[in-house]
Amino acid sequence: MSNDALTGTTVALEHRGHSHTPFYIVWGVLLAITAVEVLLAYERLQPVRMLSILLGLSIVKAALIILWFMHMKYELTRMRRLMMISLCVCLALMCVFFADAFRILNLGVK
């Protein structure tokens, strides 16, 4: 058996025992969260609050995609930890702008 076939078997085993139902559920949840985000755009929320909520929802969506669609849920714990910590650090870099957001807030600029 070739190496590719061997690892292919591993992939198959990952999926075996897991029906497609969770994927459909995750897809539905992602669409629902998107709908909530769009509805929020029609509410005239204060920008910082709006940003906080949208970022929170985006992180939830990202987690769902990574865990189920990208199969991180089925990977080894060490891979999960190493990759996710790195990714979270990367994404956390965006939080740097919060300091400036507070400055704007204190200045009262919309």
Binding site: T7, H20, A62, M70, L76, M79, L87
Partner: protein, 208 residues
């Protein structure tokens, strides 16, 4: 050096087993995804900094634009579902089903690009360029086109890669590993949009 040590221990030319007990293509793709996250993270940071620090930041996206962007998001999310079903089918050796799901993913990707180009054309017709726009802060155009343009380029490359996967699957080079690896890339493109959509579009709406 390390390889030599392993060779001596095992007595024959073999490498250590993978730390993550998976194939190297997949690990390589994950490393690429991590590095690409930095690229998009930096661009999103630049956009957000401009958005927050500039009181005259434009809010050009009206209700029609939001509906368009929401449909684009739905296409991308649906493409992720079809992609994961393609990976699942390929892992069981169901070649025809995998090809079908891959084609469905490509269709969703193409629809995303078409809607995105249509939106770009609308903004350009309203007078927006990378250096100026009729609504306010001139850097809006540059950051918007760079961020969404790079993402659109990623989607386009993804569609091409999936096309190659379909052609290979039709021939004798059907590989579930390759389909899974390209799937990782595709889901990453979807993931990035989950941040672009709210930060760029929903935070810049002008709904009256």
């Amino acid at each position: 050096m390390a390889d030599v040590a392993v060779e001596r221990q095992l007595g024959h030319a073999e490498f250590e087993p993978s730390l993550f007990q998976t194939y190297s293509n997949k690990i390589g793709m994950w490393l690429f995804i991590l590095s690409d996250s930095l690229t998009f993270g930096a661009l999103l940071f630049a956009y957000s900094y401009g958005r927050i620090s500039n009181p005259t930041w434009p809010t050009p996206f009206h209700s029609g634009s939001i509906v368009n962007a929401t449909v684009m998001t739905a296409f991308l999310l649906t493409s992720s579902l079809t992609m994961v079903l393609a990976v699942s089918a390929s892992s069981f050796g169901k070649r025809k089903a995998a090809i079908g799901w891959l084609l469905a993913t490509m269709f969703c990707g193409i629809m995303f690009v078409v809607l995105h180009v249509r939106e770009w054309i609308g903004l350009i017709n309203e007078g927006m360029t990378p250096s100026k726009n009729p609504w306010g802060a001139p850097q809006f155009g540059g950051t918007f086109f760079t961020l969404t343009g790079l993402h659109m380029l990623h989607v386009t490359i993804g569609v091409v890669v999936l096309g190659v996967m379909v052609l290979r699957s039709m021939g004798k080079k059907f590989s579930s590993n390759d389909i899974e690896t390209s799937g990782l890339y595709w889901h990453f493109v979807d993931l990035v949009w989950m941040f672009i959509f709210p930060l760029v579009y929903l935070m810049s709406t002008r709904i009256v």
